[in-house]
């Protein structure tokens, strides 16, 4: 074991008083595993005999985030992971797919504060169902911040061209009838188009994976045929 211990800590980890530590330690594992405490909870006040201990407090954009009225409460995060465990997107995709240090719903709102261009896609990887905000033990309004980040990124033109085109098309399809007609047409087209039309640079969904087989009919048309008119 080296004699040197260097702890690198984000400035948002500092709490006002030692007596407040119990609040956070109690929150952590309850929200993570549902157990009363983590297996090990270590406290360091000084080095081992004959050793050295240094604490490096890291800002790296955190103090700047403190000044963002809509986003500063993301600094309250205690890294319990509750938002990830409840997130339908995270549960399907896993942490690596976010391509950033912080994944899951909290990553969607923290990562763009480090690099807006690099992580411009992340706030769009959400259904805005709000489950993350419901389970967050420190009451961060995560899904509202995800939505707010979308607006900020679009205003600052940090979204890629293909996404802009897709969003524009989606906006024009906001009438339910037009949307259903487009989906039906797309399902037919997907079943018959040659591969090069579907798997090319314009379709990010086909870049690393096979597109799922289109359904033979949409849920809406099935519902109309089988349950239509009934409550």
């Amino acid at each position: 074991m080296p004699k040197l211990h260097i702890a690198s800590i984000g400035i948002e980890k500092i709490i006002p008083r030692f007596e407040h530590l119990a609040v956070f330690v109690r929150l952590l594992s309850r929200s993570a595993l549902g157990s009363p405490v983590t297996q090990y909870t270590s406290h360091f006040r000084g080095p081992r005999a004959g050793g050295e201990m240094h604490i490096v407090l890291v800002d790296n954009g955190r103090s700047e985030r403190l000044g963002l009225e809509e986003f500063w409460t993301s600094l309250k995060c205690i890294r319990c992971g509750a938002c990830m465990n409840t997130c339908p997107v995270y549960r399907r995709s896993g942490g690596l797919s976010y391509g950033a240090t912080y994944s899951g719903p909290i990553g969607l709102i923290i990562d763009p504060t480090f690099n807006q261009r690099k992580y411009s896609n992340l706030p769009f990887a959400s259904t805005l169902n709000g489950s993350c905000s419901n389970v967050c033990p420190v009451k961060i309004n995560i899904h509202e911040q995800i939505y707010a980040w979308r607006r900020v990124l679009v205003e600052r033109h940090e979204t890629p061209l293909a996404k802009k085109a897709a969003m524009k098309a989606t906006g024009e399809l906001l009438s339910p009838a037009a949307y259903r007609a487009a989906i039906a047409a797309a399902d037919v087209a997907l079943a018959h188009l040659p591969r090069f039309v579907i798997y090319n640079g314009l379709n990010a969904w086909g870049r690393h994976r096979e597109v799922p087989h289109p359904p033979k009919e949409t849920f809406h048309s099935w519902y109309q045929a089988n349950r239509g008119g009934k409550p």
Binding site: E19, V25, V37, Y40, P47, R48, S63, W72
Partner: protein, 203 residues
């Protein structure tokens, strides 16, 4: 300006304009369990730890002797029971790599979480609580506090350089949400209720 002054100036400039006085945090001890020892035992079990019930014979250390009977290397840091690896002779942590059983004194325990606090003063070499295959902790039943709020008022947190709550054996649930015991640290943690010798102060 130094980076320290840079950061402090930036925090001051960006501090949210909210008027929230520092809250007074209560101790949340309105309805304590009837028996702290029984509550601790339940919590310890739920965390995967073992509680060694004192035998009817009155020989309090019998369960410990039984556990270590077949062990090759036993490292004891307590006067109550002898091992065959002297912690005072350990100069490098890797000397503890082959320890089967470590026996240490817990500074105190927390009833609500099933944790025992192990500090540098009790461990002598901190790594002994992690490198041993199995850990046996002697705990004075008088040294149990009701919850973490009380725990952080204990003097160990003002006097010791290192102190760690251990709740059961090592465990992780990082992969696929499956709880695995003993992957990184001790494979089992047993707690024996045993009062401190009169001449060894609590802290």
């Amino acid at each position: 300006m130094s980076s320290r002054e840079d950061i402090l100036a930036s925090i001051r400039a960006n501090l949210p304009r909210v008027d929230r006085p520092l809250p007074a945090v209560p101790l949340f001890d309105d309805s304590p369990p009837a028996s702290l020892l029984a509550a601790f035992k339940d919590s310890l079990h739920s965390m995967g730890g073992l509680f060694l019930d004192p035998p009817a014979s009155g020989d309090m250390l019998a369960p410990v002797r039984e556990k270590i009977a077949g062990a090759k290397v036993v490292c004891s840091t307590v006067p109550e029971i002898a091992g065959n690896r002297d912690i005072a002779g350990v100069s490098a942590t890797q000397d503890l790599a082959d320890v089967d059983f470590a026996i240490v004194r817990g500074a105190f325990a927390v009833a609500e979480t099933g944790s025992v606090l192990l500090s540098d003063a009790d461990l002598h070499v901190n790594a002994v609580a992690y490198l041993a295959q199995h850990l046996i902790v002697l705990l004075d039943p008088a040294d149990i506090v009701v919850n973490l709020h009380h725990a952080y008022r204990r003097p160990e947190f003002r006097g010791r350089h290192y102190a760690s709550f251990h709740a059961g054996p090592s465990a992780t649930a990082d992969i696929e949400g499956v709880l695995i015991h003993g992957a990184q640290g001790v494979r089992s943690l047993s707690v024996l209720p045993l009062a401190r010798a009169a001449d060894s102060p609590a802290h």
